[in-house]
């Protein structure tokens, strides 16, 4: 009996936060279903949610790694645009889009490495420093692009287009890639040395250091991963819309962060949940689109986004405080 109890309590310790965010998601669905049943059974509503979700997943899941390592990054919303700019500019100049894709992702990783190194080596506050980088990079983009967008219709005829963002019998390919990304990240976070070291570092960096883990390297890699995720998100969106525009990504800044925390990853480091974050993304995406779909005006969107963040925080609080 007591063994059974300990199994349950360990299970809850590991999965409680993910279960919490799944619970919120189900609750939200039920509320929408009762509030606007006709809108809810129309498939095009869910289709538009599913188009939005992949981008948000590419941004949110790597942030779970970073937050679990005890850091935060705001600059990803600009990295998103820088990578998309590099991609679009190179495509426009006749470079093979597959190579542009690789270089775009490489740009994201490089920016992540720079931001991470800056923060880790000089021991800066990641919140403030990445806020600085957020504005700095956005400024660079606006200056370089002269605030003009770039249209790249030519990607449509290249083989990467149908493979990455095409339509497979009515099924958007980016959903498939986002799903692969989630599965990969789930194992990467829970069953791989990288994820395990991130959790140790975020939990107690002094202990991790004493046990021979290179704390700085782990943190810089987490920043790089955020850069890579943002680059993928930015490039996918640019391909889907055939357009780079210099303000792109800014709208995702708060949504992706909200998805991390609504998804049940605590802000203090050491813990994180990939599955929870997927449902956090689901909650945020349905809020964004669902409010309009049920016929309420867009003004309500921010109100409900705020409400759900607060309710989620209060709910996850029940799961317990940080143990030391």
């Amino acid at each position: 009996m007591s063994n059974n109890n300990s199994y349950l309590s360990n299970y809850f310790h590991r999965n409680g936060r993910a279960l919490g965010s799944i619970g919120y998601f189900v609750l939200l669905m039920v509320i929408f279903l009762i509030g606007a049943p006709e809108a809810w059974i129309r498939p095009n509503l869910h289709q538009s949610v599913f188009v939005m979700m992949p981008t948000l997943i590419f941004l949110t899941i790597p942030l779970v790694f970073l937050v679990a390592s005890g850091e935060i990054d705001l600059s990803f919303a600009s990295t998103y645009a820088v990578a998309a700019y590099v991609f679009a500019l190179l495509v426009k100049n006749g470079v093979d889009p597959a190579i542009c894709l690789v270089l775009g992702i490489f740009t994201g990783a490089a920016i992540g490495a720079l931001v991470g190194t800056l923060i880790v080596v000089f021991r800066l506050s990641s919140l403030v420093a990445s806020l600085g980088v957020l504005f700095l990079l956005r400024g660079v983009i606006l200056l370089l692009s002269n605030s003009r967008s770039i249209t790249i219709m030519e990607v449509e005829n290249h083989w990467i287009y149908p493979l990455l963002v095409g339509n497979f019998y009515g099924f958007p390919m980016q959903i498939f890639w986002a799903a692969i990304f989630v599965i990969f990240c789930y194992y990467f976070f829970n069953k791989h040395v990288f994820g395990i070291h991130i959790q140790h570092v975020g939990d107690n960096s002094v202990s991790a250091e004493q046990m021979g883990i290179n704390v700085n390297a782990v943190k810089i890699k987490a920043f790089m991963f955020v850069g890579i995720g943002s680059a993928i998100g930015g490039i996918f969106t640019t391909m889907i819309t055939y357009t780079f525009f210099p303000t792109q990504g800014f709208g995702y800044l708060l949504l992706a962060l909200a998805a991390v925390f609504v998804g049940g990853t605590p802000y203090w480091g050491g813990l994180g949940t990939i599955i929870g974050a997927v449902f956090g993304v689901g909650i945020i995406a349905y809020m964004e689109i669902g409010i309009i779909a049920i016929g309420w005006s867009g003004e309500w969107r921010q109100f409900f986004n705020g409400l759900i963040i607060l309710l989620a925080l209060l709910g996850h609080r029940l799961h317990g405080e940080r143990v030391r």
């Binding site: 040395v193 395990i196 140790h200 107690n204 021979g212």
Partner: protein, 248 residues
């Protein structure tokens, strides 16, 4: 006798303060060395330099007679030195099994972790170290454990890695009598298997009982090295310590 590790004239400074001044120390196979000294004598700096958390500003570190460069915590662990730190070096939100294997996870190729094997080994170690509560198993979070049990996890980590030298930094602090006895039994077992222990303690009686040799540290310098047969009682050891520190 083979030297497991040797510090040769090691100096460590923090800003303008010299925490260790030309300190030399060696540990040979199968012996228990007690390191004693007052608060601020440099015990902690010496230990952290020995196990690679700090790198020395001057002096050499020799592993089995060979000089090593760019000494760090990972190299120390790879050389067979495990440390039970004063603060236990645990991550309380993580499970016991993750803590036991922290930094030395059992891996498949490409860095994936052998989770089942780790859990099996951790459960075996927990029983070996004497966790009696049935509520505790390898997947319980460390944050739920008592101070003694946390020390048990830190020791289990050292046991699993079959270290040749185990450094115990104030291992009996905040432990009950029963738990202290467990630590002593552990030290004797290590010695019996021809491995070595460096035992750091405030409590002279504890250090006296368990050690073969004593090293007294004061203001960053090694001021005395004694064998157990040089002295007959812990009181004598305490007197030597008081005299040297006073005279120094």
């Amino acid at each position: 006798m083979e030297n497991i590790i040797e510090l040769d004239n090691v100096t460590k400074r923090f800003g303008g303060i010299t925490a260790l001044n030309k300190a030399s120390l060696k540990v040979t196979r199968g012996e228990v060395v007690g390191l004693i000294g007052d608060n601020g004598a440099g015990k902690s700096t010496l230990i952290k330099t020995l196990v690679g958390v700090y790198s020395p500003d001057e002096g050499d570190i020799l592993i089995r007679g060979k000089k090593v460069n760019a000494w760090n915590a990972l190299k120390a662990r790879e050389s067979g030195i495990e440390t039970v730190f004063q603060d236990r070096a645990l991550t309380p939100q993580q499970s016991i099994v993750k803590n036991i294997f922290m930094g030395k996870e059992l891996r498949y190729p490409f860095g994936f972790i052998k989770e089942k094997e780790q859990i099996f080994e951790a459960n075996r170690l927990i029983r070996e170290i004497g966790f009696t509560s049935k509520l505790i198993n390898a997947e319980s979070p460390v944050g739920n454990l008592s101070g003694g049990e946390r020390q048990g996890v830190a020791i289990a980590r050292a046991i699993y890695n079959k270290a040749e030298l185990i450094v115990l930094d104030e291992p009996t602090n905040n432990l009950s009598l029963n738990e202290t006895q467990k630590v002593f039994d552990f030290v004797l077992n290590v010695k019996k298997s021809n491995r070595s222990v460096l035992f750091i303690g405030h409590n002279i009686y504890h250090v006296y009982d368990i050690s073969d040799r004593f090293v007294i540290l004061d203001r960053g310098e090694v001021v005395h090295k004694l064998n157990k047969n040089d002295i007959s009682t812990p009181e004598e050891l305490m007197k030597i310590m008081r005299d040297t520190i006073g005279a120094h």
